[in-house]
Symmetry: C2
Subunit: 338 residues, 2 copies
C-alpha cells in the first residue's frame, strides 16, 4: 500500500532470512573484516578480468546465502540485482549462472535498497515466496571504467572515495514463523532524481547528500516518523564530505538528526590507516555493511528499527564528456526486528 506520496508499506513484513557477504583483500584490512562470510586474498579472484572477478564476488555471496538456510538456487523465485559496470554485465553473467528469473536494475550505489524495495513489494504481494537481491562492486573494474586504470596511479583529491570490492546479498521470504527472529522490511521510500549542479566526479559524497536528505525527509513525512523513531539511520556512501553536507542540510531545514545515530557505510567499512580519501563507496559498500555488520548487530538485539538509505550518483563517463552535472537518487528502506 502507498502511504504519503513516495512510500510503500509492507504489511506482510518480508523477513530477511539469509545473507551472504564477500570482500576483497583491502576489505580484509578494514574495520568490519569479522562481518564477512568470505574474504578473497586475490583482487582477480582467479579470473582474467576484473569484471569476471566481480561476478565471482556476487556468485560467492549468493552461494553462501543459499547454503546458510540449506536452500538451492532452484528454490529462488526471482533475482533482483544490478551493478555499476556498463550494461550491468557482472550481474547478468551471475544471472546466467544461477538460472532463476531475473530483473536487472540500475541506480548506481542505490541498487542495494532499490532491490530490497522491489523484492519486499513482490513478497508482500505474493508474487514470490523467496526473493534474492543484492549488488556488487569491484575497485579496479570501477576505476577502469569511470576514471583511469589503477596502473596509471592517477592522483586524487581528498574529496574522492574508494570503491569497495565486494558483494552483499539478502534472501527475503514470506515465512511467517520466522518473522520474530529475522529482521523484516517494513517500508520503502522511492526517491526522485536530485541534481544540485555539482559537476566534480571526485566529490560524489557532496553531490549525493541532497538526494539522501530529500528521501529521508520524504520518508519522515510519508510515515509520520522522525529520527526519534529510529535507532540508527544509515546512509550508503556519503563518506566524510557528504555526511557533513547532509547534517548541515538537515539543520538548515529544521530536521532533528542526532549525529550519533546518523552513520554512513562508507565510513564504517575501512580503517583509519587505510587511505580511502573521504571514505568507501560503490554499490557493494552499502550491501556489505548492511547485510554483514548492521544486520548482525540487529540479530544481536542492538537495534530494533533502522532506516537504510543507499544513494546513487547516476553518472557515466559519457555525461562528463558532455559537461553534465551529476543526477543523484536515494531509496530508503526501514528494517525492524522485535
Amino acid at each position: 500500500m502507498l502511504i504519503g506520496s513516495q512510500t510503500w508499506m509492507f504489511k506482510e513484513e518480508p523477513a530477511n532470512i539469509s545473507t551472504g557477504v564477500v570482500g576483497g583483500p583491502f576489505e580484509a584490512e578494514g574495520k568490519l573484516s569479522d562481518s564477512f562470510d568470505k574474504l578473497h586474498e586475490d583482487l582477480w579472484m582467479g579470473e582474467d578480468s576484473y569484471e569476471k572477478a566481480q561476478k565471482v564476488l556476487l556468485e560467492d555471496a549468493i552461494q553462501i546465502a543459499l547454503t546458510k538456510r540449506a536452500l538451492k538456487k532452484e528454490d529462488i523465485q526471482i533475482f533482483i540485482a544490478g551493478d555499476l559496470i556498463n550494461q550491468i554485465t557482472p550481474t547478468t553473467f551471475t544471472a546466467r549462472t544461477i538460472q532463476t528469473p531475473y530483473l536487472g536494475i540500475f541506480s548506481a550505489c542505490a541498487i542495494s535498497t532499490q532491490g530490497l524495495a522491489i523484492g519486499a513489494s513482490l513478497i508482500n504481494s505474493h508474487y514470490a515466496n523467496l526473493v534474492l537481491t543484492g549488488t556488487s562492486s569491484h575497485n579496479a573494474s570501477a576505476e577502469k571504467q569511470f576514471r583511469y586504470p589503477t596502473e596509471y596511479g592517477g592522483q586524487k583529491p581528498p574529496t574522492a572515495q574508494w570503491t569497495a570490492t565486494g558483494a552483499g546479498v539478502s534472501i527475503l521470504s514470506t515465512a511467517t514463523q520466522l518473522k520474530s527472529e529475522f529482521p523484516r522490511v517494513t517500508t520503502a521510500t522511492i526517491g526522485k532524481v536530485i541534481d544540485m549542479g555539482i559537476t566534480d566526479p571526485m566529490n560524489m559524497g557532496g553531490a549525493m547528500a541532497p538526494a539522501a536528505v530529500d528521501t529521508i525527509m520524504r520518508h519522515f513525512a510519508d510515515t509520520n516518523r522522525t529520527s526519534e523513531d529510529y535507532d540508527l539511520i544509515i546512509t550508503g556512501d556519503l563518506a566524510t564530505i557528504g555526511r557533513n553536507v547532509a547534517l548541515e542540510l538537515f539543520q538548515q531545514k529544521g530536521v532533528h538528526m542526532p549525529e550519533e545515530k546518523f552513520v554512513d557505510c562508507g565510513l564504517l567499512l575501512y580503517d583509519d590507516h587505510q587511505n580511502t580519501f573521504a571514505g568507501g563507496s560503490g554499490p557493494g559498500c552499502s550491501a556489505i555493511v548492511l547485510y554483514g555488520h548492521i544486520l548482525n548487530e540487529m540479530m544481536e538485539g542492538k537495534y530494533k528499527r533502522i532506516l537504510v538509505v543507499a544513494t546513487g550518483a547516476l553518472l557515466s563517463p559519457l555525461s562528463f564528456q558532455q559537461n553534465e552535472s551529476i543526477p543523484c537518487i536515494a531509496h530508503a528502506v526501514s528494517i525492524e526486528r522485535k
Copy 2:
C-alpha cells in the same frame, strides 16, 4: 499472485490509459509512420549529442502521454524505465527532468515488458495509482557505443539489425471505470537468462530467439494457455533470422505456433525498401510498435488478447572483448481488451 513458477497474475488488471510514441526521420519512412504521435526530422533532435537526442525522444513521449489524458507529471507516482546506453544515462536525465520517484531498470531490448511487468505489479498491489513506464533507443548512440560511429560506414552482414530511433511510453492506472475501454495488463512472465553460446554480435536475433521461446513456453505452462488463447504473439526484435529460429524451436519442442499470429516488432516497423538488414531492433523498437501500432489496433477492436514478448541481448562491448557469448532474456506480458 504468483501462478506456476514464473508468472504474475494481476487481478486488478491495470489499465493502459495513455501512450506516447516518438520516432526519428528513418522511422518516418517506415510502414508504421501513421502510428507515431511525433516524428523528428533531425536525428540530433536539436541537441549536441546523440545521447541527449535520445533523452529528447523519451521526454517528448512522456509529455505526449501526459497531455492526452490532461495529466501533469506531478500526478505520476512512479517512473520505471531504462535504455541501452552505459549507466542508462538518457533515462536518468529524463527522470531528472520529470522529477517523479524513479526506478531504473536494465534488460536491454526487454526493458519495455520488464517495465510493464513491474509497473502492473505496483498498480495491482496499490503501491501506485498512476505508473509511467517506457524506454528509448537511438540508432547513432547505440552504434557509437556497441559498434562504430556511423560516420565510419562499417560494413555489416545480413544478419545484423537496425537499432530504432524512438521512444514509447505507457501510463498505467487503477481507474476501474476505464477498464472496459482501455487495454489491461493481465499477466507477466519473468524470464531467465538463456545463453546458447552465440558469440556473434551481428546476429542478435539468432542469439535472442531461444530466450523468447523459453519465456513463451514457460508462460503457456504457468497459465495453462496455448497460442490458441492469443490473437497475436508479438516478439520484440528477433527480426528475420531470430523469428525463423524461434519457429523452428517451437516445432522441435512440439509447441503449436501458427506463423500468421507470430509477429515481430523488428519486422513491422520498417518498409522493405529500407535496408535494415534482418530488421529493426533496440528497446525503442518494441516500445514504439507496442504502444503505437499494436495498442491502436487493439483499441480498434482487432485483437482481444495479445502476448508481448520483448527480448534483450544483455551484451556489452566489454563482454565481447572478453570472448563471452551473449546472455539473453525475455519478459512476456499479456494484454487484454474486452
